[in-house]
Structure formats: structure tokens, C-alpha cells
């Protein structure tokens, strides 16, 4: 789990030199407990997914300082699944836990307030996220244009293909904190950059690409953190109406900030009633291949999907006996089991708690 690194100390003010190597959550909790009388902070060292419904139900407000889209999607669908409707379909306010989310990247930041089932949720606006920076393998291999392409190529290919790397064992995985590794990757990426006439491969950039470093700036973090605590105060005391419902902040050139309302998406798979997703696949696709494609498809990112259709279980991994009974299906072709135009129900508890996605399958020869 997350421990304190020397490089955190310039901006994570609850930590001191003596804390390096200790648990972040525990150290931060201890610091606040010591500093602020009457406040009781409990630290938990685990993945957010490990906590159950009862744990999340015990809170009145959830404020998130998460560092990934996956984690935000998970907590969003978790809090929305806890929010009940009464028999007439109205939101039961006693089960609604407001979710405040903040995030920064360099001089830019954002904060938002999500009132489950009442305002737009994280999933409603998922398509507003900038595309993830991944480069197609063919670009990396044959037509690199950016210094990043050269570094990624070394990471993906050269590293595993080169044996007898100087001072590095053949089985060693890339460690972004090991300067020997970074130096080696930097040297190889520079060679490749020279070959293709690309400039700009530096040691710092190599480190940034390998460690997926997102620049963090204390002042931006402070602004976003205070926006989040402001909202928590307003929601807790009702002293003012809360943010409606999304604030962006840009400190790149001067200071710019704007607050607006994201609309709820009627077809949101988490808080709306979604129509079936259409998928066209080759009739030769096996169930196993189809499950792998769900892991890669950015609409799903389901790494361990359960697949069912009306009256038929295709594959269900979580229950031992059912997994054993449906395992032979993995090698079968989808078209043997799922008729053209049929609706498949896909779930993945780890990615999307409490959500089932309906997928309409059609076949087309490649």
C-alpha cells in the first residue's frame, strides 16, 4: 500500500523526514489527531474495494482524493448502489451519501459534488475524460515520432528482449525507483531516438514515462483541497447550497475558474437506465477471447466478467461449482452459444459494483 517517499515531502505537508517509509494514511491520521483536539481520524491501509457495504454506509459524506479513473468509477458506483429508492421510485434521502471528488494535474484541478441519483455521477461524464495516453504498438515499432515513443518502445520490447543487461538481472522487472534501470532505459531510448532523428529524450522524461509521473504542485492541491472541504462543510451544516456541480480550475496562465452543472445522462450505466450496448464480433470468437476483449474495451475494462443471457449461463467465475460447470464454454465459439441479436448480460463486481450491462451481440465474418 501507499507509503511515504522522500519525493512526497515537498508538498505533502503532514509528512516529515522521519516518516519516510511509513504508511501515508496512518501518518496523516496520527498528525491530525495530535494537532486538532476533538477530531478522531481512523486510518485504513487497504484497497477501497476491500471494504464492504456496511463500511461505506457508516459515513455521512465521502470525500475522495483518488489517483485513478478506476478507483473513482468504483467508489461512484458503490455509493450510487447504496442509494435506495422507495416504492414510488423517489430517492430515499436517508440512504444518499454525498460524494465529493477532487483531483489535480500540475496547475490544473477540479472539484465536484455528486449527490447519488440526484445529480450527474462520475460515470455520466466519463466520455469527457481526455483519452488515455497509450501508443499503438505499430507506431512504437515502425514510425516513432515523439521522444515518449522511443522510451515506451524500450519499456515494452527492448527491456524483455535484451539479455545480459549491464548490472541488471534477466528476470528483473522494470523498477522506476531504481536509477540503474532508468539509466539503462534512457541510454537505449537515446540510441533509438538518434536512429529516427527524434530529439528530446532526457533522463527526467524517461523517469516520467516509466513512473507515469503526473506533476503535483502544492498550491494547486491546496486550492482543490479547500474547495472539497468547503463543500463538505456546506453539506454537513447546510449553511449554504452546495456546488452545482462541477468546478474546474486552471492556474496555467493567471487564475481561471468556472463552475457549471453537468447534466445527468439518461443512459448512464451506473445511475440511469441504459439501452443495450451493441457489439459486433466475428462468429469465430471464442468465449475466452470475448472475455479478454471486455477487459480491453474502454467502455467496460471488465477483467473478470460474468456472462449470462436469458435462461443460460455462459460463464460465471465467482462461484466455484458454477465456474467448473461453465468452464468448458470458454473454448467454445460465441456463435455456438449466443444467437445473433441476442442480449448478453455482463457483470464484473470488481469494476462495477452492482451494475449489469446489457450487450446486444451480432456476428460478422472478418
Amino acid at each position: 500500500m501507499d507509503t511515504i517517499d522522500t519525493s512526497n515531502l515537498n508538498r505533502q505537508f503532514l509528512f516529515r523526514d522521519k516518516d519516510v517509509g511509513k504508511s501515508k494514511s496512518q501518518t496523516a491520521a496520527d498528525f491530525v489527531n495530535d494537532r486538532v483536539p476533538g477530531v478522531e481520524v481512523t486510518a485504513h491501509m487497504c484497497a477501497i474495494q476491500e471494504k464492504d457495504d456496511a463500511f461505506y454506509k457508516s459515513f455521512n459524506i465521502v470525500i475522495c482524493g483518488l489517483d485513478s479513473v478506476e478507483a473513482r468509477r468504483w467508489i461512484n458506483s458503490q455509493l450510487i448502489s447504496l442509494c435506495e429508492r422507495d416504492e414510488s421510485g423517489e430517492v430515499d434521502l436517508s440512504t444518499m451519501i454525498p460524494y465529493i471528488d477532487g483531483g489535480t494535474e500540475g496547475f490544473k484541478g477540479q472539484a465536484r459534488v455528486i449527490l447519488p441519483r440526484m445529480t450527474s455521477c462520475y460515470e455520466c461524464t466519463l466520455d469527457l475524460l481526455p483519452p488515455q495516453v497509450t501508443y499503438p504498438m505499430c507506431t512504437l515499432a515502425s514510425t516513432p515520432r515523439l521522444p515518449e515513443h522511443c522510451i515506451e518502445y524500450v519499456l515494452e520490447k527492448t527491456w524483455s528482449e535484451t539479455s545480459n543487461k549491464e548490472d541488471i538481472g534477466d528476470d528483473e522487472k522494470v523498477d522506476g525507483d531504481n536509477p540503474v534501470h532508468i539509466k539503462w532505459i534512457f541510454a537505449k531510448a537515446s540510441e533509438r531516438a538518434n536512429q529516427f532523428g527524434i530529439r528530446g529524450v532526457t533522463y527526467r522524461l524517461t523517469q516520467g514515462v516509466v513512473k507515469h509521473i503526473i506533476p503535483a504542485i502544492a498550491s494547486t492541491n491546496a486550492i482543490i483541497a479547500s474547495a472539497c472541504t468547503n463543500e463538505a462543510l456546506k453539506l454537513a451544516t447546510l449553511c449554504s447550497s452546495s456546488m452545482d456541480d462541477y468546478m474546474l480550475y486552471n492556474g496555467n496562465e493567471g487564475i481561471y475558474t468556472y463552475t457549471y452543472r453537468n447534466e445527468k445522462r439518461a443512459a448512464c450505466p451506473v445511475c440511469g437506465t441504459p439501452p443495450p450496448v451493441q457489439m459486433t464480433i466475428s462468429p469465430d470468437t471464442t468465449v475466452e477471447q470475448y472475455r479478454e476483449s471486455l477487459a480491453e474495451d474502454p467502455r467496460f475494462l471488465f477483467k473478470n466478467a460474468s456472462l449470462r443471457m436469458a435462461g443460460k449461463t455462459i460463464y460465471l467465475p465467482n462461484v466455484k461449482m458454477i465456474e467448473e460447470a461453465t468452464r468448458p464454454n470458454l473454448a467454445k465459439k460465441m456463435s455456438e452459444l449466443v444467437p445473433d441479436g441476442a442480449e448478453l448480460i455482463v457483470t464484473d463486481h470488481r469494476a462495477y459494483k452492482g451494475i449489469a450491462i446489457s450487450v446486444k451481440i451480432s456476428y460478422k465474418k472478418e
Binding site: E84, E87, S88, G89, P275, V319, K320, I322, T347
Partner: protein, 182 residues
């Protein structure tokens, strides 16, 4: 003209359907042929904790509306003794709770000799947000903390409160296949 009662009934049915749709996430586009419980059971099974999912069986993996759970309590009087439960999921699940019967004969204040179980979340306190995890945890809890103040087998509850040693003896006899109550 439809009569008032009929209209009321129709409205009620619509409401139930809407509630089902909002709980299961099914779009009621008129084309849904799958039964209401199916998606929800799939999600429940997906979320099941290993201690339940490793001990759950079904004779029909396609329907997924009938299960047997082998539950061996990890503490208390019935520790490590396998109890088999029969779980039937109605089409209206999760609006209606599953029907659960205990197939193993057991001497317990909240389980009678026919295997009926008195557990609040299986009847009066059932809510559609509850799931199979919650039910199995509830059943397990009955073995850890029997509740003699709200008994189903009043005689067993009486013995449990007045003569705990005798209760333990009889319960142990049951586990060995001796169903005498002395």
C-alpha cells in the same frame, strides 16, 4: 370503464415493475424476455464472498434460481458441523426475498423441526437492497448468536434460556443423529 379496484391493482403492478426495473437495471423496452430475478442473481453471485461461493451448489447452472448452501459455522455450539440450506429464488426477486429452508435437522431456537427458519431479513425486514451475501451472513449469525427471545421452536428456546448445558447436550446429540430431547 375499469373499476377503481382494478385500476388500483394495475397501478400497483406498474409500480412493482418500475421498482424491479430500477433495482435490477433492466430497461423495460417491452423486449425483455429474461426473468426479473436473473440479472440480480448474476450480480449477487458475482459479489459473493469466497466462504459462501465455495460452498454453494445448484443443480441447474442455467436457471440459477435454486441453490444449496453448505454452511459450517466457525464458532459456537454448532462449530464446524455442516448444515445444508435450500434456497429458492422467486421470479420477483429481489422485490420478494428467497425462500430458505434448513435441510439438516438441527436443535435451534430459531429453526424448527421442519427446517423453517426465523430470520428477520427473510421476512419482515427484507429489502431489495439486501442480497445473497446478506442472507448467508444472516444464517451464519443465527448459529453464532441464537435469539431465544424471538423463538420459532419455543421448547428449544426455553431450554436454551433455562438450562444451557442441557441445550448444548441435545444440540450435540442432533449433530450425531440422535434426535431425542433428553
Amino acid at each position: 370503464m375499469i373499476g377503481f379496484k382494478q385500476k388500483k391493482k394495475l397501478e400497483q403492478e406498474q409500480k412493482t415493475q418500475q421498482a424491479t426495473a430500477s433495482v435490477t437495471g433492466i430497461v423495460s423496452g417491452g423486449e425483455v424476455r429474461k426473468k426479473g430475478y436473473e440479472i440480480r442473481v448474476q450480480k449477487d453471485l458475482d459479489e459473493l464472498e469466497p466462504k459462501w461461493s465455495d460452498n454453494l451448489k445448484t443443480e441447474n447452472v442455467d436457471l440459477l434460481n435454486h441453490f444449496t448452501l453448505t454452511l459450517s459455522p466457525d464458532e459456537g455450539i454448532w462449530k464446524n458441523h455442516a448444515h445444508v440450506f435450500d434456497i429458492s429464488v422467486p421470479d420477483e426477486y429481489p422485490i420478494k426475498p428467497p425462500k430458505v429452508l434448513c435441510k439438516t435437522k438441527v436443535y435451534h431456537p430459531n429453526i424448527d423441526q421442519e427446517g423453517h427458519i426465523c430470520l428477520n431479513i427473510l421476512r419482515e425486514d427484507w429489502k431489495p437492497v439486501l442480497n445473497l451475501n446478506a442472507i448467508f451472513t444472516g444464517l451464519h449469525f443465527l448459529f453464532l448468536e441464537p435469539n431465544p427471545s424471538d423463538p420459532l421452536d419455543t421448547e428449544a428456546a426455553n431450554v436454551y434460556e433455562k438450562d444451557y448445558d442441557k441445550f448444548k447436550r441435545i444440540a450435540n446429540n442432533y449433530m450425531r443423529g440422535n434426535y431425542s430431547k433428553y
